[in-house]
Amino acid sequence: MSPATTKFIVTIGDATETVEVSGQAPRYRVTIGSEVWEVDGRLTAQGIYSLLLGGASYVADVRDEGGSCVVDVGDERYVLRVEEETRHIIRTRGRSAAGAGPQTLVAPLPGRIVRISVKPGDRVEKGDTLLVIEAMKMENEYRAASEGTVAEVRVVPGQAVNGGDVLVVIA
């Protein structure tokens, strides 16, 4: 049994939306700020959702990527964070502004360090390249998620790394 109306906090890009949902599969009412949608929504295959909104037909692929929700609609991609309101409040209470604070760059896959663009003590801005890893026969750049100062570089060029290895720590 879901409650009559459930409130969600949706973070998309830099914006935050309050979204209310009520109803039962397949008929829902969804309120996004001032927009109200009557939705006929069906799960037609894993992660593939069919939505009818007053006649308009959409297929949306929804999947989880490391905690955030990635949605493809047609050729557009959206990355969102969806939280039931109370959970959102608990999580964010007394937290510092998103993005700031220390960050740790971890190798997502096994690979080989091709080159390293920073050294301890370097000041980095959000988006600065930290290092390049070769994996699956391709070179991949890894960038700083937010500004900070490089505290540690735990790898050297040419080194093989495993998924999960800590590569760079930014204070």
Binding site: I48, D75, E76, Y78, V82
Partner: protein, 496 residues
């Protein structure tokens, strides 16, 4: 001689492509698989399949001795190398020959002659085929290098003599960068190809990358099957290919084809090969290199010519004459290929291995999907990211582009991230539709490809919120599922 059983020394979609061709010719197929590939599609589709070792290619798909042993043990009389891995490895071709196995590809000598880019440039030069200004021998020594560079002029490129696939390449814009770039290129080349030799070529700004498909039989006949335009690349890796090139007219096609056939003939080439050219704005073309294998993008040539290249490869390898004369090669309409890779184009093309939990491939009129994936397949982390080659044919380029846009919109992959969204933007881009292509195209438009654009924002929010709403709802739902719900519940795990 007749070929009765072929071992396919490859994996993924190209292994599937070859297995299909074998089946259609009444030839038995033998697949090989690393420990990471037991459930790969090529294993499921082949008549026979044998393990060849651990996931790292060096211990499996590159292990010549193992491959030859399995081929002999399985009673295969031929080996098809596909592309990549050992496809352009003369030693492998020789090992097959020595073991009495037909190598479905060119003779080792031709592989060697053309594998060294400087040797290939020398062949072209002696034939009077224009080449990109540069050196015709590997260069070494700072002095000689600087002299050669001055002669060529800046900007120029440092390239690995034994290279390919965009590796071991460096652009040098001024003499000050030369030595450093050289060192880097050498080390990359040594790492990637086991040979650090490099040479210099003039750097052409945003040239068109156009390649010509050739097919030669062992009776001395060489024909060309028109060109492919492969200018849409990222980091020297092709993403979209088409045939014919919107830039090539009948006369340029004939000149390119004639030059390609002459290079192939001079190298004693047999079987399918591709001659690459750079073409500048004035339609001057320059020989770049010859790839001594079946190309990833061979399918677009097949769609416009109606000629089955893998079938011809097998026929030629069996010593038969080509089934076509040059005059029989008639191009009809236009074909485009998009490479669907398991990568996240929105974060630096980072590979996205993992299980494909949902897959709905495009199909319907004039849509061809050459795929190595299926729903439930786990994309391993050890190999390249190519999942499928989506191809379309249309009566003209405009029709083909509209069809590709339609097909990309149909193609759904869940569980791993893919290049589909970027491909959709590329084919929708006015410059692409206008045929304004160059190797710089993608870098130019990439900045405009951002996530979270307004268009379908509300739809995305609704879908994401409903998924979470259902997930929460079902947590509190304690009644046992009815049998008919099993399937849906089975799919629930995707809704995290």
């Amino acid at each position: 001689m007749k070929i009765n059983k072929v071992l396919v020394a490859n994996r993924g979609e190209i292994a599937v492509r070859v297995i299909r061709a074998c089946r259609e010719q009444g030839i038995s197929s033998v697949a090989v698989f690393s420990d990471a590939d037991r459930e790969a599609l090529h294993v499921l589709m082949a008549d026979e399949a044998y393990p060849i070792g651990p996931p790292p290619p060096a211990e499996s798909y590159l292990a010549i001795d193992k491959l030859v042993r399995v081929a002999k043990a399985s009673g295969a009389d031929a080996v098809h190398p596909g592309y990549g891995f050992l496809a352009e490895n003369a030693a492998f071709a020789e090992a097959c020959g020595a073991a009495g196995l037909v190598f479905v590809g060119p003779p080792p000598a031709a592989i060697r002659a053309l594998g060294d880019k400087t040797a290939a440039r020398r062949i072209a030069r002696t034939l009077g085929v224009p080449t990109v200004p540069g050196t015709f021998e590997p260069v070494s020594g700072a002095g000689a290098m600087r002299a050669a560079a001055r002669e060529i002029g800046y900007p120029l490129m440092v390239k690995a003599a034994m290279g390919g696939g965009g590796k071991g390449m460096r652009v040098v814009r001024s003499e000050s960068e030369l030595e450093n770039a050289l060192a880097l290129a050498r080390s990359e080349a040594a790492y990637a190809f086991g040979d650090g030799a490099v040479y210099l070529e003039r750097y052409l700004a945003e040239p068109r990358h156009i390649e010509v498909q050739v097919m030669a039989d062992s009776r001395g006949r060489v024909i060309h099957l028109g060109e492919r335009e492969c200018s849409i690349q990222r980091r020297h890796q092709k993403l979209v290919e088409e045939s014919p090139s919107p830039f090539v007219d009948a006369s340029l096609r004939e000149r390119l084809g004639e030059a390609a056939c002459r290079v192939a003939a001079a190298a004693g080439y047999v079987n399918a090969g591709t001659v690459e050219f750079l073409v500048d704005a004035e339609r001057n073309f320059y020989f770049l290199e010859m790839n001594t294998r079946l190309q990833v993008e061979h399918g677009v040539t097949e769609l416009v010519t109606g000629i089955d290249l893998v079938r011809e490869q097998l026929r030629v390898a069996a010593g038969e004459a080509l089934g076509y004369q040059q005059a029989d090669v008639v191009m009809r309409g236009a074909a485009i290929e998009c490479r669907i890779n398991a990568e996240d184009p929105f974060s630096g093309w980072m590979p996205s291995p993992g299980m494909i939990t949902g897959l709905r491939a495009a199909s319907g009129p004039w849509v061809r999907d050459d795929s190595g994936a299926y729903e439930g397949y786990t994309v391993p982390r050890f190999y390249d990211t190519l999942l499928a080659k989506l191809m379309v044919w249309g009566v003209d380029r405009e029709a083909a582009i509209s069809r590709m846009a339609r097909a990309l919109a149909e193609y759904k992959v869940v569980g791993v991230l893919t290049t589909i969204p970027v491909l959709a933007h590329i084919v929708a881009h006015e410059d692409f539709r206008a045929g304004k292509l160059s190797t710089g195209f993608l870098d130019r438009i990439l900045p405009t490809l951002t996530a979270n654009r307004d268009r379908a924002r509300s739809i995305a929010i609704i879908a994401a919120v409903l998924a979470e709403y259902e997930r929460i709802g079902h947590r509190t739902d304690v009644e046992p599922p009815s049998p008919s719900d099993n399937w849906r519940l089975g799919r629930r795990p995707g809704w995290r």
